[in-house]
């Protein structure tokens, strides 16, 4: 039997924008075991609810993660609104959907770029990020922030998007979709990409389900689970169908994300078509008393905000279960059997977001 050696991977590693540490147990070039350790980004944000008023905590929730920041705000606000029995106006629900989908677009394009970089496909990395800039332009135009938006608040949204801007967005969606399809075409059909990704890090449907994974990671294995189906925000009105692939390998996970980019564009288009006129927020009176599990589908999967208020200005407890935390067990299952040179690609295939994971 070949001798076993342990190779540390991270916390500072060129393919990882964020620190996570894996101990890879190798036999020659083959991975036989993995021991992940996390904690480099743990800040203690859950406890901060006791120091910030419940309306102010939205800013903290946004900074749990800079990539899906808007969706964290939506998750948190929906929780508080449910506890307090606030009815969010329709226009606000639609605006939340539009911004959520823009965030998903920028997150997926970001991931596609990083993934291409992990494969060593530098050109594709640059192209993905170039496309992503046009999404960021829209976000900046409509909210004022590129990555941290700050437009979601308890009871509604803080800003409106004028009809003129909505029309403009609608116009630019077609050429943008064309560019995305060009890009997606490379990810789905290029021989180099296929060669690198097919059959790598396979997880079966049952395994994915049993491990409790979420998001595109599990949809790549054929589990049709997407929280948008429950119709929070305006997803119930504009309709939604999850994107599913069945192969369960890195290629399938990549394909899910590419197709979700197309789906998001479609959702934005429908949301712009149907958006009703009306107020943007309701007045928040009183303090939250009660508890609620608020769930939102983020680019990486389902996030759960558990919130409990005791009738004071500060919440008694917040617990945030983020998608990457649920996906790490799947990663540990994927890696054994993989060559060392493929480890970065497999790690990236779950789209790890460490700031979320550790809060």
């Amino acid at each position: 039997m070949p001798k076993r050696i342990v190779v540390p991977f991270g916390p500072q590693h060129p393919v990882l924008p964020e620190p996570i540490h894996l101990d890879l147990v190798l036999e020659d070039e083959k991975v036989v075991d993995v021991v992940p350790s996390i904690g480099y980004i743990h800040r203690g944000l859950e406890q901060l609810v006791q120091k910030r008023e419940f309306t102010e905590y939205v800013y903290v929730a946004e900074r749990i993660c800079g990539i899906c920041s808007f969706m964290h705000a939506v998750g948190y606000c929906q929780g508080i609104e449910h506890i307090m029995g606030l009815e969010v106006p329709d226009r606000a629900r639609y605006l939340r959907t539009i911004w959520s989908e823009c965030s998903r677009l920028h997150s997926h394009l970001l991931w596609l770029g990083l993934f291409a970089d992990g494969m060593g496909f530098e050109n594709l990395f640059m192209r993905s990020w170039q496309l992503r800039e046009s999404v960021l332009d829209v976000l900046e135009d409509t909210t004022g922030g590129r990555v941290i938006q700050g437009t979601c608040k308890v009871g509604g949204v803080r800003r409106d998007i004028g009809q003129e801007k909505l029309d403009e967005m609608h116009h630019t969606l077609d050429p943008f979709e064309e560019q995305c399809r060009d890009l997606g075409d490379i990810f789905l059909n290029d021989d180099t990409v296929k060669y690198r990704l097919k059959g790598l890090g396979v997880i079966s449907k049952d395994e994915a389900y049993a491990l409790g994974a979420t998001g595109p990671t599990t949809r790549g294995s054929g589990v049709a689970m997407d929280h948008r189906e429950t119709g929070y925000a305006a997803y119930g009105d504009i309709g939604f169908k999850p994107v599913v692939e069945t192969a369960g390998d890195c290629y399938a996970r990549c394909a899910v994300r590419v197709k979700e980019v197309y789906a998001s564009i479609d959702q934005i288009r429908r949301a712009i078509d149907q958006i009703p006129e009306g107020p943007l927020d309701v007045k928040v009176k009183g303090t939250p008393d009660g508890e609620y599990f608020s769930r939102v589908e983020q680019p990486r999967g389902e996030v759960v905000h558990y919130l409990r208020g005791d009738g004071t200005k500060h919440l008694a407890r917040a617990r945030i279960r983020t998608p990457t935390l649920a996906n790490i067990p799947m990663l540990v299952k994927m890696l054994p059997g993989v060559q060392l040179a493929d480890v970065p690609v497999v790690v990236l295939s779950i789209d790890p977001c460490i700031s979320c994971t550790e809060r």
Partner: protein, 158 residues
């Protein structure tokens, strides 16, 4: 920034940030901002780096990592702290696990404000860092020269 005398290489590390500033650092490297056209390259190896671009408020576990990375970088080196939370702890200031700013652990030369900092600001920070890097280099060379001269003078007199 008409031209640069040298091509500084940067090392990027996320020391307990929210990620927002990190993706903006990466955005600087991609087509819209493209700092690579100035010869600025992102490297993963601290021994190759001249500038450390660091975000976040540093938690207990990261302290040792940050100090280690800093010590591995060759002199002269410059540290650019990006974002409000790298400067003071920012929004995470009151968290139990946050040290509260990069300068609590390693010396910082340039602070880039913002939460999240914009790519333009980050590039501005790098340009400022370049000036400081040049200063440090001249000083180092100066020191080496004076030593050399002193040795010469001593050699001649004996």
């Amino acid at each position: 920034m008409a031209f640069l005398k040298r091509s500084p290489w940067i090392l990027h590390y996320d020391a307990s940030s929210c990620n927002g500033c990190d993706i903006e650092v990466l955005a600087c490297l991609t087509p819209l901002y493209d700092v690579e056209r100035f010869g600025i390259i992102n490297t993963g190896n601290p021994k190759h780096a001249d500038i450390l671009m660091i975000t976040g408020g540093i938690n207990e576990l990261n302290r040792a990592v940050v100090r280690n990375l800093y010590e591995q970088m060759p002199e002269p080196k410059v540290v650019v702290a990006i974002g409000a939370c790298a400067a003071t702890g920012g929004i995470f200031r009151e968290c139990y696990n946050i040290t509260g700013g990069i300068d609590k652990v390693i010396p910082v030369d340039v602070y880039v404000p913002g939460c999240a900092a914009r790519p333009e600001q980050i590039i501005d920070g790098v340009v400022t860092a370049l000036g400081i890097l040049e200063e440090k280099r001249t000083k180092m060379r100066g020191n080496a020269q004076t030593k050399e001269e002193a040795r010469h003078a001593a050699g001649e007199s004996t």
